[in-house]
Symmetry: C2
Subunit: 594 residues, 2 copies
C-alpha cells in the first residue's frame, strides 16, 4: 500500500461542484486563462510529486529527524533532493506574481498544493511553507530593491525564508519582545537578540535563508506599537543576487520535539547581524498581520492533512484486520473473523474522521477563495469577502486543527494496540498533528480573535455576513422534502448562533472576562455550524447525482452528511449550555484553591 | 521544582472523608489491625520512594528507552537499582497473603501505591504492575506446589511476572490464538508459538521472569473454549527456588512505541519451552478473567496518573508564565505581564484537569473498595459489591483513561508552544497516556462489556444497583438548599440514564448492532454521571468544612464541583442525543462508500 493517495476526486468535488472554481477564477485579476484542464493538470502533477517523492520520506524523516552540529543543521536523508525536484518542477513560483518570476496562479491553488504536500509529509512541506510567508511579507511591504534582491530568489526556490517572531519569554504577547535593531550609517541595522521556535530556521536544502525578523528600534515605544520588521539574510547578497559574506547570525540549537522531527525548529542568535527595514518603523506587527489570514489558513490545512492521512490509513487497516464477528452475524463467514469495519463503533470512528476531514476541506477551500477575492478580486468592492474571511479564519484555524487532532487520534484507535507502534505511522500522525493547535496562535488565541475582535467588536456585523448566507440557504431548502433533514436543524442552529452571541455580548458589558470564558466553546460551536452548512450543500449536490455512474462516491457524501448531523452536530447541545454558563465558574476559584 | 509531589492530602480526602476507609477495613477478613496511622505511614514512605527514587527517572527513561541486543533487554539507567530499593522496602509483598510471605494489606491500598508509583513513572511502575497479574493468577488458580515454587519469589519481588495473551493476529479476539501446548510424559507441556505486546516480557531488573501464557492443548475445541493457561518461567527453578536451566523461550525484539519507552514491550518466542498447566484444561480464559476487574482498574489508574502529573506541571507553569494582561485589568501590575492563570480559558483547562483527575480518583478508589469486599469481605453476602464492581469497572477503565488523555492534552496546551518541546515533560505525558485507551481492552471493548454484558444482559439489574444509590442520595439532599445545585441535576441525569438504557435495550431487540452503535457514547454518559455523583458528595463534605483551617482546600473542592456541573456535565446533552440516534447512521453506508 502506498503511504498516501492524493484524494483528487474529493478535491475536485470541492473545487468544481461545491465552489464553481472556474467561474471563481474569472473574478480574479489576471486569472482568466485558468480552466479546469489547467487545474487538473496541476493536481495530477502535484499528486505524482507527493506520492512518489515526499510521502516515502515521511516516516524516515520522523525516525532520523534533523541533526545539529556546531551551527549546521542536516535534514533527514532525501529531504534536500526532494526539495531540488520541487524547485526543478517550478512549484515554489506557482502563486507568485509574474513580475518576479512567478506563474501568477491564485493563492487558492497554492492552498491545494499545501494540502497535498502537507498530507504527504508535513515536516518537509514546512520548508517551502515558511518561504511563502517571507515572500508574502516582501511582496506586500518590501522596497523595489528588496524585491529584486530577495523575492526573485525565493520565488525561484533557490533560497528559502523564515518568520522570526517568538522569543523565549514571549510567544502570544509579542509586545514583550526584546530583540534590538540599531541603525547604522549605511542605512542598514545591526540586529541583536535571540529568537526561538524558528521553523526551517537553518537547514541544508537551499543556498541562502532569508529571515524576516521582528525587532525594536532604539527609540521605539514600549509594547506592540514599537516593533519593526527587518529582512536579515543568512548570507548577504549583492544586488545581482550573488552570495556575499556570512551574516552575523547563527543557529544555537534545534529543539527536541514531540513530532515534526523532519523540520528544524531553531534557536537563532543575532549578534549584530545586518538587517534591512521592511515597511515603516514601528509598524512591524501591522505589516506582518496583513497576511495573517492566509498564514492561519495555512496552519488550518494541517488539521485537514493529518485528518486525511489518518483516515486513509485507518480505512485500509479496518478493511483488512480480522477480529470478532459482527453482532448481527458473520459478514465474512469464509474467514476466521470479520474485518473490523463491520463493527458499528469502528464505523463511528471512521465516519467521524471522514466528516471532519472532508468538512474541513470545504471550509478551508471556501475561505481560500475569499482570500483570492480579497487579494486580487477584479470587481471593486470586496468588503463582504474580506469580512467573511476575517470571521472564518480563526474558526478554520482552531476548529480544523482541533478536529484534525481528534481525527488523528481516532485513526490510531482504529488500529488497537498496533496503533501505538511506530511502524504503522499513525502515532507519528498524532504527534505531528499536536503542534497545529499551538503555533500560529493557540486555539485560545483564535477564540479570542473570533469572539472578541471579530464578532463583538463589529457589533455582530461580521457574524451576520455568514449567518445571512446560511439563512438564505435554509429558506430556499427548508420545504424541500429531500433536504429538510439538513435545512431544519441548520436553520435552528443558525438562529441560536445569533442568540448565543447576543447573550455573551450582553454579559461582557458587565464583565470583560465573560468573553474569555465563553470564547473556546463559542469557537467550537461556530465550527460545528459552519461545517453543517457545508455538509448540507454537499448533501444537496450528492442527492442530485446519486443515480450517476459515481453513485458510491455521492452516496458516501450523503451518508457522511447524515452521520455529521446525527452524531456530531449534537455536540452543540453541550456547547450552548457551557457558553451561557458564565465566567463565575472559572473566575471564582482563588489561585491558592487550585 | 520536583517532578511530582504525591497529593497525600487529596488521597486522604478520598480515603477517609469520602470512603471512611478505617471502617471499610474492619469489614475485611484479617484487616482489623489497619488504622489511619498505618495507612498514613504507607502513604508517606511511598511518597518518599516515588518522589525521590522513580520520578527523577521518568524523563531519562523516556529519552533512553530500553535497548535490545541479541535477546537481552537493558532497561534505562537507574531502573534496576530503583527496583532493588522497591524490593528492599518490601513493597511487592504489601497486598499478598501472609501465607506466601505477604503483608496481607488490602488490595485497595495497593491501588493507592499503584497510583503514586504510576504517576511518578508509569513505565517503571509497569514492571511490578505486571508481576501483580501473574501473582493473582497463581494465587487463585495455581497448585500448592506452583505457589510454593513461584508465588513466594514473586511476592518477595526477586522474580517478576508477565501476562502473555496477545498474538500478532489477535488481541481482542483471543479465540483466534494459535500458541500450542503439547503434553509431555513428565506432566509438563512443550509450548510453541509467538506472543507480542508482552509488557516487561524481558528485562534486567530481576533474576527470573515468570510468564503466564495462554495456549491450546492438542485436542482443544476451537475458539475461546479451547484455551488453557500455563506458567512458563524464563529459568526453570528447582522446588526450593534455585534457578536451573534456561527455558526454551526468547525475546525476539522489542517494539518501538509512541511512549512508555522505559517499559520493554516484547515479542516472545516459545520454542518448545517447558510450561505447567494452571487450572483445568480449556478453562484458561475463565481463570484469567477472574481477576479482570482488578487488572482493568489497574489500567484505569493510568488515566488518573497522567491527569495528575499533567495537572501539577501545568498548574506550576501557568502560575509562573507571564503573558498578556487580564481582560478585566492588570492583576500583576508590577510585572511585565500577568501570570497566565488569570485568563479564563487557562482556568477552564486547569479546572477540567482537576475535575477529571480528582473525580477519577474518587471513582477508582470507590471501585477498589468494592473489589476488597468482593475478594475478602467478611460479612457473607457480597453480591451487591460484586455487581457494582462489575458495572463500574469498564466505566472506570475507559472513562478515566479517555478523560486522562484529554487532561494530559490540556496540560500540554497550557504550555503553548513550549508544551511541544520534550524538556518540559508534558508531551511525554501525552504520549505515555495514549496507550491507556488501547491495552487491557480498548474503549470500544469496555463499552460493549458495559452496555452489552453488564447492563442489558442483566436486564438492567446491575445498573439499578448504582442508580438506586444515587437516587437515595439525591432524595436525601434535594431539598437541602446548599446541595440543591448538585442534587437536582444529578437526580435528572440518574432518571435519564435509566431511560436511555431502556431505549437502547428496546432498539437492540430488533437489531443487535444498536448495542455497538450506542456503546461508547453510553459508556461516556455513564462516566459523566458517576463522576457527578462523587463530585456532589465531595461538595457536601467541603461545605461542611469550608470554615475550617483548611478552608482553601475545601473551597477548591466545592468550586471544582461547581465547575464540573456547569462546564463538563452538559456534555451529557450531546450524548443523550447521539445514544438515541440509532445504528442506521453508522450501518447504512456501504463499505465501498467510505
Amino acid at each position: 500500500m502506498s503511504e498516501y493517495q492524493v484524494p483528487i476526486r474529493d478535491i475536485q468535488f470541492v473545487l468544481y461542484e461545491l465552489l464553481d472554481y472556474e467561474n471563481h477564477c474569472k473574478k480574479l485579476a489576471n486569472a482568466d486563462e485558468i480552466n479546469r484542464e489547467l487545474v487538473d493538470a496541476v493536481l495530477e502533477e502535484g499528486a505524482k510529486f507527493c506520492e512518489q517523492v515526499i510521502a516515502p520520506l515521511n516516516r524516515s524523516g520522523d525516525e532520523q529527524g534533523c541533526s545539529f552540529n556546531d551551527g549546521v543543521v542536516t535534514t533527514p536523508e532525501g529531504f534536500k533532493s526532494a526539495y531540488q525536484q520541487y524547485v526543478d518542477g517550478g512549484w515554489p513560483s506557482m502563486c507568485h506574481s509574474t513580475e518576479h518570476g512567478g506563474q501568477g496562479l491564485p493563492e487558492s491553488l497554492g492552498n491545494v498544493l499545501s494540502e497535498i504536500t502537507g498530507t504527504a509529509n508535513w515536516s518537509w512541506a514546512m520548508y517551502p511553507g515558511l518561504s511563502h510567508g517571507a515572500m508574502k511579507t516582501l511582496e506586500l511591504h518590501g522596497t523595489e530593491e528588496q524585491k529584486q534582491t530577495y523575492l526573485s530568489k525565493l520565488v525561484e526556490g533557490v533560497w528559502t525564508g523564515t518568520m522570526c517572531l517568538t522569543e523565549a519569554h514571549c510567544g502570544t504577547d509579542l509586545g514583550l519582545l526584546k530583540t534590538k535593531a540599531e541603525p547604522r550609517e549605511d542605512g542598514s541595522y545591526a540586529i541583536h537578540g535571540s529568537k526561538i521556535f524558528i521553523s526551517a530556521g537553518e537547514h541544508d536544502m537551499a543556498e541562502n535563508i532569508v529571515h524576516i525578523v521582528l525587532a525594536r528600534l532604539p527609540d521605539a515605544p514600549e509594547g506592540t506599537k514599537g516593533i519593526s520588521l527587518f529582512v536579515v539574510p543568512k548570507f548577504l547578497p549583492s544586488k545581482d543576487g550573488q552570495l556575499g559574506e556570512r551574516n552575523k547570525l547563527s543557529c544555537g540549537s534545534i529543539e527536541h520535539k514531540m513530532g515534526i522531527h523532519g523540520n528544524a525548529t531553531c534557536v537563532l542568535n543575532f549578534d549584530g547581524a545586518s538587517g534591512f527595514l521592511i515597511g515603516p518603523p514601528n509598524r512591524g506587527l501591522h505589516c506582518m498581520f496583513t497576511f495573517m489570514n492566509t498564514a492561519r489558513l495555512g496552519t488550518a490545512i494541517q488539521g485537514l492533512a493529518h485528518g486525511e492521512l489518518g483516515y486513509q490509513k485507518s480505512l485500509a487497516y479496518t478493511r483488512e484486520r480480522l477480529q470478532m464477528r459482527a453482532l448481527s452475524g458473520a459478514k465474512a463467514p469464509d474467514k476466521p473473523a470479520d474485518p473490523i469495519i463491520v463493527h458499528p463503533d469502528v464505523r463511528r470512528m471512521l465516519l467521524s474522521q471522514k466528516a471532519f476531514t472532508e468538512g474541513g476541506r470545504m471550509l478551508i477551500y471556501y475561505a481560500a477563495l475569499l482570500a483570492d477575492i480579497e487579494q486580487q478580486g477584479s470587481s471593486g468592492d470586496n468588503s463582504e469577502e474580506a469580512d467573511l474571511l476575517a470571521l472564518l479564519t480563526p474558526v478554520a484555524k482552531a476548529f480544523v486543527t482541533e478536529t484534525g487532532f481528534e481525527s488523528a487520534n481516532l485513526a490510531l484507535q482504529c488500529f488497537g494496540g498496533h496503533g501505538y507502534i511506530r511502524e504503522w505511522g499513525v502515532e507519528q500522525n498524532v504527534r505531528d498533528a499536536r503542534i497545529s493547535m499551538l503555533y500560529e496562535g493557540t486555539t485560545g488565541i483564535q477564540a479570542l480573535d473570533l469572539l472578541g475582535r471579530k464578532v463583538l467588536m463589529s457589533q455582530g456585523e461580521l457574524l451576520k455576513r455568514f449567518t445571512k448566507i446560511i439563512h438564505k440557504y435554509c429558506k430556499a431548502h427548508i420545504e424541500n422534502n429531500t433536504l429538510e433533514e439538513f435545512a431544519v436543524p441548520l436553520s435552528k442552529l443558525n438562529t441560536e448562533w445569533g442568540e448565543l452571541t447576543l447573550h455573551v455580548g450582553m454579559a461582557a458589558m458587565n464583565d470583560p472576562e465573560e468573553v474569555g470564558a465563553a470564547a473556546v466553546d463559542y469557537l467550537m460551536y461556530s465550527g460545528y455550524v459552519a461545517l453543517a452548512y457545508f455538509w448540507a450543500r454537499a448533501a444537496e449536490i450528492a442527492l442530485q447525482k446519486s443515480e450517476s455512474a459515481e453513485k458510491d462516491f455521492y452516496l458516501g457524501k450523503l451518508k457522511t452528511a447524515r452521520f455529521y448531523y446525527q452524531r456530531i452536530l449534537p455536540r452543540t447541545r453541550a456547547l450552548a449550555v457551557t457558553i451561557k454558563s458564565g465566567a463565575a465558574n472559572l473566575m471564582d476559584i482563588e489561585e491558592e484553591q487550585f
